[in-house]
């Protein structure tokens, strides 16, 4: 019998506003706490001066899924790229393949950690832990196209031409 209940595609992604991020790591701690101390969220370092979280983009054609030799990375019908811990052998192929450095190269309990958009929280109507924990309003959970259409960042950049990170 054909499944008439299609899984809803999750179009929203975690989006970072660099003009607000203070590099406090509360998102990374909240992520680690929510995922039993896995390091699902990496830290990006720009020009050795600014640090901010490096979230998984849940790509349309994920390089990590193609790189995994054990089919431990899968893209679900909901659009979320997940890591199946019981299949993962900790070879780090996914982490090396990821063009955004969004997968931590350090293995925890012999497997790779990977952002899953806190899908269990989404099912309860909550936002991902990192977004809820963010102290500066830098992280939001929105459809990227809505943010681009709203042209929010351009206005902010114009507001303070003198802003700099050092």
């Amino acid at each position: 019998m054909e499944n008439t209940q299609e899984k809803k595609v999750e179009k929203r992604r975690v989006i970072i506003d660099l003009d607000r991020c203070i590099g406090c790591s509360s998102c990374r701690v909240a992520c680690s706490r929510t995922h039993q101390e896995d390091h699902n969220l990496t830290q990006a370092v720009a020009l050795d001066s600014a640090r901010f979280p490096g979230h998984c983009r849940h790509c349309e054609q994920p390089a990590c899924v193609e790189a995994c030799p054990k089919d431990a990375m899968v893209k679900g019908e909901d659009g979320i790229v997940r890591r199946l811990a019981f299949r993962c052998i900790g070879c780090k192929s996914c982490a090396i393949a990821c063009p955004f450095g969004a997968i931590d190269l350090n293995v925890i309990r012999n497997v790779v950690s990977k952002c899953d958009l806190c899908y269990q929280r989404l099912d309860k109507g909550l936002e991902p832990a990192c977004v809820t924990a963010c102290v500066s309003g830098a992280l939001s959970f929105e459809d990227p196209e809505d943010v681009v259409d709203a042209n929010l960042w351009g206005a902010r950049a114009k507001a303070k031409p003198g802003l700099r990170r050092w």
């Binding site: 003009d19 607000r20 406090c24 509360s26 809820t132 924990a133 500066s136």
Partner: protein, 542 residues
């Protein structure tokens, strides 16, 4: 939301979150009757910082203390408390001191006063000691006003020390009407990244610069300000002054002085003066959640809050009780008396030295009231009891045999009048040829400048790097090379540490390893991690 709504114990932002008790029958965990789940408060838009998120980890800490100790031996809770009660009963009150952590409830503060009266002692004070200098200030602004303000003038690196205030300042700074955030600090900091203008004063000159800002707003000619001495451009200073003037009635001065300035009281007092002169709101952010509330209770009860510290460091005591705080960690020069009782939740430096150790609950596991940063009284949602553990207030009540101090807690808090002078030294900053301060994370820039960012509280231990960073000029004078040891001394302590030479550091300044127990002893109050500048002497270790 499931569970009880409570507040974070780490800083006066007092962020709300929920704790849910999961019963052991449903979630078997060995060693505890129950486990906790922490969930964010959906009604709060301030989030929970990295430290706040640690509340759950602390609660379930692998080394969480559930058993009482008497002279190092595990004994029953009742026996330990009764032994302490009997021991204190035989002592003269003037040789007993009590230290209270800033993250206990107001009800527990009242219990502590009752205990002090019963023991006939006046030596009761607040830990952390840094909060003594700011505990007496009354805030005149609210978080909502900060969020909507035309101009916010920030003194200190509050984005690091109190991270959940960040969103408020961003909301104001990024408002469509082009609002301003000005920062004043001795270093370029995490808060300063987002400010314009960012005023950076030389070490020891912050108070002078603040006086000049107050003077210019009050009518003094800008040409009389020695800007060259401060290293601040006329553009930045002028912008700051006009932003402050234009913000009259719609701006705030927010100061987070502890852990950052040696002259904590003076900086805060000047910040308040600036707020009054420029007609702005004023807010001080101390270190601990409820320091200001506990300070008001102790001060109103006429207790000797400075005498307690003097007696502790001068060894004039027969008994010292630290309720939920560790004087061994926070006071480098402590003289441990014969009876040294501690209450607490996780292992601390003083644990092995304590004659009596009594396990207690964290603030977020208690019921009670705290004084909000916006001058309101906040009720904590409920109580979560660990196995065999009592709250600090219950322990105080058993020892004193009295339920609480006779007095209306609400009235004491609300009718509190700001003291006219500081309970601690008015100007604790000493300047010398060489100034030392905590290292932090130094970020270098291509043009030779650097930003020093204070790391967040390191809950897992001390920093891995123990070197003192020394400017090239001082290294040449002392004839030391990388890895050699130098002796650093001041009136507080004398420590020997290895050297790392840097050519980017200002010639008069050395950077000490943060959180390193030896280096901490050099500071006035040993628990400064510390961004506080101190004058030191350096010489090559023979």
């Amino acid at each position: 939301m499931p569970g009880i709504k409570t507040r974070c114990m780490f800083c006066p932002m007092q962020d709300a979150f929920y704790v849910e008790e999961l019963k052991r029958t449903e979630n078997p965990v060995f060693g505890r009757e129950s486990i906790l789940n922490v969930e964010f408060d959906p009604d709060s838009d301030r989030g929970l910082c990295a430290r706040g998120n640690f509340c759950q980890e602390l609660s379930l800490h692998a080394k969480r203390q559930y058993r009482a100790r008497l002279n190092g031996e595990y004994v029953s809770l009742g026996k330990t408390i009764n032994d302490l009660k009997d021991s204190l009963g035989n002592l003269s009150g003037e040789r007993i001191a009590i230290l209270l952590d800033g993250s206990i409830t107001l009800e527990e503060g009242m219990n502590a006063i009752a205990l002090a009266k019963e023991l006939n002692t006046n030596l009761v004070s607040l830990a952390p000691a840094e909060d003594l200098a700011v505990g007496g200030f009354i805030n005149t602004t609210t978080f909502d006003k900060i969020k909507d303000a035309e101009t916010n003038f920030v003194i200190g690196d509050i984005f690091t020390t109190h991270p959940t205030c960040t969103k408020l300042f961003h909301d104001s700074r990024l408002a469509a009407r082009n609002n301003t955030m000005i920062t004043l600090d001795t270093v370029k900091s995490r808060t300063g990244w987002f400010a314009h203008p960012e005023l950076v004063s030389p070490l020891g000159k912050t108070a002078d610069l603040l006086r000049d800002i107050i003077g210019v707003i009050g009518g003094k000619d800008i040409s009389e300000v020695p800007l060259q001495e401060y290293g601040i451009s006329g553009d930045d200073f002028g912008w700051a002054i006009s932003a402050l003037k234009n913000a009259a009635g719609d701006g705030n001065v927010v100061v987070g002085p502890a852990w950052h300035f040696a002259d904590t009281y003076e900086i805060t007092q000047l910040a308040k003066e600036l707020a009054e002169v420029a007609n702005l709101g004023f807010m001080v952010l101390p270190i601990s959640t409820n320091s200001r509330g506990i300070y008001r209770l102790l001060s109103s009860a006429g207790l000797d809050i400075t005498g307690a510290y003097k007696a502790i460091t001068e060894g004039k005591l027969d008994a010292l009780i630290g309720f939920d705080c560790d004087p061994v960690t926070s006071l480098g020069n402590i003289q441990i008396p014969e009876i040294f009782a501690l209450t607490g939740q996780v292992p601390v430096d003083g644990l092995d030295k304590a004659t009596h150790f009594i396990p207690t609950t964290f603030l977020f596991e208690k019921k009670g009231t705290i004084l909000g940063t916006e001058e309101d009284l906040i009720k904590l949602g409920g109580e979560i009891k660990g196995p065999g553990v009592k709250s600090t207030g219950e322990i105080m009540t058993i020892i004193s045999g009295k339920k609480s101090f006779d007095g209306n807690m609400k009235e004491i808090i609300e009718n509190f009048v700001e003291p006219e002078s500081s309970p601690v030294a008015k100007n604790a900053l000493e300047t010398g040829e060489i100034m030392a301060m905590g290292n932090g994370n130094v970020i270098h820039h291509s043009d030779g400048r650097y930003t020093r960012i204070m790391p967040f509280v390191n809950l897992r231990g001390v920093d891995e790097v123990f070197e003192v960073i020394l400017p090239k000029g001082i290294a040449e004078k002392l004839s030391v090379e990388n890895g050699d040891k130098i002796k650093i001394s001041n009136k507080n302590a004398e420590v020997v540490l290895p050297v790392k030479i840097a050519d980017w550091l200002d010639g008069y300044q050395i950077l000490l390893p943060m959180h390193q127990p030896l280096a901490r002893r050099l500071f006035h109050w040993g628990n400064s991690p510390s961004a506080t500048p101190i004058a030191v002497k350096v010489e090559k270790d023979k």
